[in-house]
């Protein structure tokens, strides 16, 4: 039975990529790589964003809003770089979804323009702050040796990418454009709520990815707490995998296939995410000072507030996602029986 389900889930005829010609396949590979690449960049900029935000929140919590403001002013380019990379991810994702020619053109151009505007703001801001003496030099240093110059370079890359996207649509105005596959559109019903939760889920996924990646380098395996370390890496991994499975696997299926797969996939997701939560809390029980002592750099918000909030959020979100999918799967099964 299990084998049957797995075989059925990975039946290649059920994928939207099935039957594409060579050009379409090439375009699809490029777009998928762009989605993955921009997701990774967004994950790193998101972690920087969280770090800056955590420090600013810390100052506010400690009744020093003036310090928070001073720090926020210094780190505006870091905050903007996250939104810039997010605009890049949105452009790539719009191509990936390819809901329709009009939607693709409208949305991709919109996100490209947002990226260009943010890039320009970043460059103008850094130069203005340098002239005003708020930056002691263009390579003042911290958090990187080249800060804030690296923010200008990052902005220039996004401006160039944005211009490329806009000119792509201009050049191909009279010709057939992107010919990649169309993937499941976001349903119109409750679009606002769906978009909100999807954005939240994306942030958890970015957090999970970066947390897992950093943990490989910054977690100290030699100082005890090994069960907790493994558990926290598992949590980060599942948070990221949750988005990867649904976005890169589920959304690559044909509509008919998705109908069939929703229920078994959501069941597997529920089991994995619940098991992860159990593993996490069991490990925490044996390492109650684990969160504060090993690699806590990967969970910045949680530590600043001295609460377990962020970790709980990362543990719980995949469960919510999979339970939602399970309810959807059951509903569809009953409806189409």
């Amino acid at each position: 039975m299990g084998k049957m389900v797995m075989k059925n889930m990975f039946d290649k005829n059920g994928f939207v990529l099935c039957g594409l010609d060579a050009r379409q396949k090439k375009q699809n590979i490029i777009v998928t790589l762009c989605v993955i690449g921009s997701f990774i960049i967004s994950a790193f900029t998101f972690m920087n964003f969280l770090y800056c935000l955590s420090d600013c929140i810390g100052s506010i919590v400690c009744a020093s809003p003036d310090i928070s403001l001073r720090d926020a002013i210094r780190s505006v380019p870091i905050f903007l770089s996250f939104f810039m990379s997010l605009s890049g991810l949105m452009v790539a994702h719009t191509f990936y979804r390819n809901e329709s020619e009009n939607i693709l053109k409208r949305k991709a151009k919109k996100h490209a323009v947002i990226g260009i505007v943010l890039g320009v703001i970043t460059i103008v801001y850094v130069i203005a702050m340098r002239i005003a003496g708020r930056y002691l030099s263009l390579v003042e240093g911290a958090p990187s040796p080249l800060y804030p110059l690296d923010a200008i370079i990052f902005a220039l890359i996004f401006i160039a990418t944005g211009i490329f996207i806009i000119s792509y649509f201009k050049k191909t105005a009279d010709k057939p454009r992107y010919a990649g596959p169309t993937r499941a559109p976001v349903q119109k019903k409750g679009r606002g709520v769906r978009s909100f939760f999807r954005a939240f889920w994306l942030l958890i996924g970015l957090y999970g990815f970066c947390g897992f990646f950093y943990s490989i380098f910054i977690v100290d395996f030699t100082n005890g707490y090994v069960p907790y370390i493994i558990a926290v890496m598992l949590v980060s991994c599942v948070a990221f995998a949750s988005i990867a499975v649904w976005e890169l696997y589920y959304n690559n299926l044909t509509a008919e296939k998705r109908m069939k797969v929703t229920l078994p996939l959501s069941l597997i997701s529920v089991v994995v995410s619940v098991l992860t939560a159990v593993v996490y809390f069991t490990a925490l029980k044996g390492n109650l000072d684990g969160p504060s002592n090993v690699g806590f750099g990967i969970l910045p918000i949680a530590f600043s507030a001295s609460v377990n909030f962020a970790t709980l959020l990362v543990v719980v979100t995949p469960i919510i996602v999979s339970v939602t999918a399970l309810i959807k799967g059951i509903y569809r099964k009953i409806k189409f029986k």
Binding site: M47, N48, Y51, C52, S54, D55, C56, G58, S59, C62, A63, S64, I67, D71, A72, R74, S75, I78, Y135, L136, S137, E140, G141, A142, P143, S144, P145, Y214, F217, I218, V219, D220, F221, T222, N223, G224, V226, I229, I230, F281, T282, L284, K285, L288, D289, P291, S292, N293, V294, G295, F296, G297, P300, F303, S304, S306, V307, N308, F309, L312
Partner: protein
């Protein structure tokens, strides 16, 4: 395929297990290993810098400019009071040097202190604070960089002691272990935080654990029962709060001074109260200095031990603005006998001068603020 995945998984687990099984040192069998020695002289100057808090938002350049001026002010003050040739002998960095920082901050910080150590002729001794564990570097990287820095005194081994940086600096006649200690300085890692249960929403701040107290007592016995001792660590223990309650609510007559503008941010839970001060005071502990609560530098003589928080160093994260016209009782108490007549920020450093081998010492707090129209500097004696 399944076999391959299983093999990779098992190999990863084995590597993790091997890493975690690094040889653990039994501290009681290696007491000498934890001891550094430096040469003692009367008027030995120990500067405490605390809660520097370099983070992702910090301008390292601006922070170093502040530290440049601060160190010059301290050095000039020492020379003015003690005469030419006197200097900062030791800097105690009592935790939270970093928070939400990365390797770049770490390298820049150590390079800076190495440069200044050459310039002023001091050595520096870092202690972990709760936030030093909270960064994008591997904790081992921090330990290794401190261990390898030329002017840094630091010891860390995988051992049976709680925390990471527990070590002793004995000030001896000739600066070696061959002569008797005149003073013992204990640097203790007071940890970070812990959850009471796996489902707790909040975390409690950590405390000095009984095994660390036991280790301190053994090290002190090794140095000599008559040797006066000072402890430096990051998180205040329960005695600070007890002393505060005794002074402020019960009207106890204890010598106390400086500012207490917020709580001590200690564990605050009787169940997890540390036995450190309670037991160490019977082993010639003369003073214990810490950091952690930035708006507090309140110092008190409690049951024969001077307990004090250092003045927060630099402008990162948060600090108090002192209004000399404030009607606030705590501000007024802090300003009493300080001679300060203008508003200032509660940032700077604390200076301990060991005046004799009999356990006597002086303590001064420096409030130092950078200002466009001339920096503010005020020394207030304990």
């Amino acid at each position: 395929m399944k076999k391959n995945v299983l093999c990779i998984f098992l190999a990863a687990m084995m590597l993790l297990s091997l890493a975690s099984c690094a040889k653990t040192q039994i501290s009681s069998e290696h007491l000498q290993d934890y001891v550094f020695t430096l040469q003692y002289h009367d008027n030995y100057n120990i500067l405490q810098l605390t809660d520097i808090h370099w983070n992702v938002n910090t301008s390292a350049k601006a922070s170093m400019n502040y530290l440049d001026k601060l160190l010059k002010e301290v050095n000039d003050h020492i020379v003015a009071v003690q005469g030419a040739g006197a200097k900062i002998d030791l800097i105690e960095l009592t935790g939270d040097m970093f928070m939400l920082a990365n390797s770049y901050h770490l390298m820049t910080f150590i390079d800076y202190f190495e440069k200044k150590a050459e310039e002023y002729g001091f050595v520096y001794a870092p202690i972990w604070g709760n936030h030093d564990r909270h960064s994008l570097y591997n904790p081992n990287e921090l330990a290794d960089r401190f261990k390898n820095a030329k002017h840094c005194v630091y010891y860390e081994q995988p051992d049976d002691l709680y925390g990471r940086s527990n070590y002793i600096i004995n000030l001896t006649e000739d600066g070696t272990k061959n002569t008797a200690a005149a003073w013992m300085i204990a640097n203790i890692d007071s940890g970070a935080a812990f959850s009471e249960t796996e489902l707790s929403v909040f975390r409690d701040y950590d405390y000095i654990r009984p095994d660390q107290t036991e280790w301190f007592i053994s090290e002190h016995a090794l140095a000599g029962e008559d040797v006066p001792a000072i402890a430096y660590y990051h998180i205040p223990q329960d005695e600070n709060e007890k002393a505060w309650v005794a002074v402020s609510e019960e009207g106890a007559q204890m010598k106390n001074k400086f500012f207490k503008l917020e709580g001590f941010a200690d564990n605050g839970n009787e169940k997890y109260a540390s036995d450190f001060i309670d037991r160490a005071k019977d082993h010639n502990l003369k003073a214990a200095f810490m950091g952690h609560a930035h708006n507090v530098d309140w110092t008190v003589e409690y049951e024969g031990v001077v307990l004090g928080l250092g003045v927060k160093t630099g402008t990162e994260l948060y600090f108090a603005h002192i209004d000399v016209n404030s009607e606030d009782k705590a501000v007024k108490a802090g300003l009493a006998d300080s001679g300060i007549t203008e508003n200032f920020d509660l940032i700077g450093a604390s200076l301990v001068t060991l005046t004799g081998k009999d356990g006597s010492f002086d303590l001064e707090h420096l409030y130092f603020n950078e200002r466009e129209n001339g920096d503010f500097s005020a020394w207030v004696k304990w």
